[in-house]
């Protein structure tokens, strides 16, 4: 029996618009991708993979992340176990500099070219900025790796300081669509997040601005988020999938369906053909080993290797071996700042 191959109109449009001309899909077009039936998913992923290969190349960027300050955050992001406003089992911890340098060395040893220092804060105070400065200097002395930071909302002075210290990339996620944001965060606004993103770009740092999917947003809001991210033109978009954390308002939210997650990967790639699209937290639960492979063959071109901030990831060797199996080389270090 011969399998019937359908020509889905939105995929034909994407082939001409995104693959050939490098123009991302619009919000309305992304809704069409996100609502494709399961039988269309392999074609959508295959197209997203071709887009990634043509516009980004075959290599994969590997990054490690570590929390310099865990827990006790004054913000109320409903997905986050590090908020001090929820009854979460996560306690406050500061990572000392020698441990942080050790983590950077271990990360570099995996072949990673990016090391992101993260703090659970609304924005950094002087103590945290001093710690980060000291950490950056020590890491630069001992480890050959690009340093990124994720320290919440910044002032212009802090943006300038980080850029001056050689911070290569700054992470500040939109997390979700503007229309859904007030249901997820009430202690700061979408506009405040956009403000930090704009300052980071203006200062010449690469902007890493990501998404967290599966928080109860509609497919339309997923498309809205992808379009809003595309409009920001970030260098990198980390894709997280909700891992419901005990004690948070979203602890009873179900785990996102794996096929929906793969559709989202394809859609985000078709929205942003030239952006680094990174696997981030939650993929172990949402996609598992098989889905992880499908995503790498469906538009993903970067991974966070090893563990996350408060949860554990796949073993680093599992991802690195998978990249070898898929014949995808790890991107080599290029100091950009």
């Amino acid at each position: 029996m011969t399998a019937t191959v359908h020509n889905w109109p939105i995929l034909e449009t994407a082939r001409a618009q995104v693959l050939e001309r490098g123009m991302g899909l619009t919000e309305d077009q992304l809704v069409e991708v996100l609502t494709l039936p399961d039988e269309a998913l392999p074609q959508a992923l295959e197209l997203a993979h071709r887009v990634r290969l043509r516009h980004c190349g075959e290599d994969v960027e590997v990054e490690g992340i570590v929390s310099i300050k865990t827990g006790g955050c004054p913000e109320d992001c409903h997905f986050c176990s590090q908020s001090g406003l929820f009854d979460s089992p996560v306690r406050g911890v500061w990572l000392d500099i020698p441990e942080l340098v050790k983590a950077a060395k271990e990360t570099a040893a995996t072949g990673a070219t990016e090391f992101c220092i993260v703090a659970a804060v609304r924005g950094p105070d002087i103590k945290l900025m001093n710690q980060v400065k000291f950490a950056i200097d020590r890491i630069n002395e001992e480890v050959d790796i690009n340093i990124a930071c994720s320290l919440g909302m910044l002032t212009q002075r802090q943006v300038d300081q980080l850029a001056g210290w050689g911070v290569h990339r700054y992470n500040h996620n939109l997390e979700t669509a503007r229309s859904f944001f007030p249901q997820v965060v009430t202690t700061h606004t979408y506009e405040e997040r956009l403000g930090t993103c704009a300052m980071v770009k203006a200062a010449g740092m690469e902007l890493c601005c990501g998404a967290l999917l599966g928080m109860g947003e509609s497919l339309g809001q997923r498309a809205e988020l992808a379009a809003q991210l595309a409009a920001l033109e970030p260098h990198e978009v980390p894709l997280n999938f909700l891992n419901p954390r005990p004690g948070t308002p979203l602890e009873n939210q179900g785990i996102m369906d794996g096929k929906d997650a793969l559709r989202a990967i394809a859609a985000f790639r078709l929205a942003m053909p030239k952006t680094v699209l990174r696997y981030a937290g939650g993929r172990e639960l949402t996609l598992g080993d098989l889905g992880t492979r499908e995503g790498l063959l469906g538009g993903i071109n970067a991974v966070i290797v090893g563990n996350y901030l408060t949860t554990l990831g796949r073993p680093a060797t599992a991802d690195l071996n998978l990249l070898v199996d898929l014949n995808m080389p790890i991107r080599e270090l290029q100091k950009t700042l």
Binding site: E99, T107, T110, E284, L285, G306, R314, P315
Partner: protein, 103 residues
């Protein structure tokens, strides 16, 4: 795929679950030495499963996250996750690291 071998949890030998902080066994639920004020009130098995399997779900979660409660006294742990490992510290029972520290 587990990031660490079965049994590597520092709480494997203690009377309390490292994920939810509740007693592991039925006979530990009453008259246990742990201070209830240090344990979560909303353990996610909800007590709905029989004692022998009450923490199967917790055990599966401990393959993707570090312990948050001391297996010996149910106190909340200070936990630091790094890209390739983690450590968990109890104020009474010390620090456990994964991978285990070299002697």
């Amino acid at each position: 795929m587990s990031p660490f071998p079965a049994g590597a949890s520092p709480n494997a030998a203690g009377p309390y679950c490292g994920h939810c902080g509740q007693p592991r066994e039925e006979n530990a639920r009453e008259g246990s030495p742990g201070d209830a004020s240090h344990r979560r009130k909303d353990a996610d098995d909800g007590g709905s499963l029989p004692p022998s399997s009450a923490h199967l779900r917790c055990a599966s979660r401990l393959h993707l996250e570090p312990p948050r409660f001391c297996g010996h006294c149910a106190r909340r742990l200070k936990v630091q996750v790094t890209p390739l490992g983690w450590w968990a510290a109890c104020s009474r029972h010390g620090v456990t690291t994964y991978p285990a520290s070299e002697p």
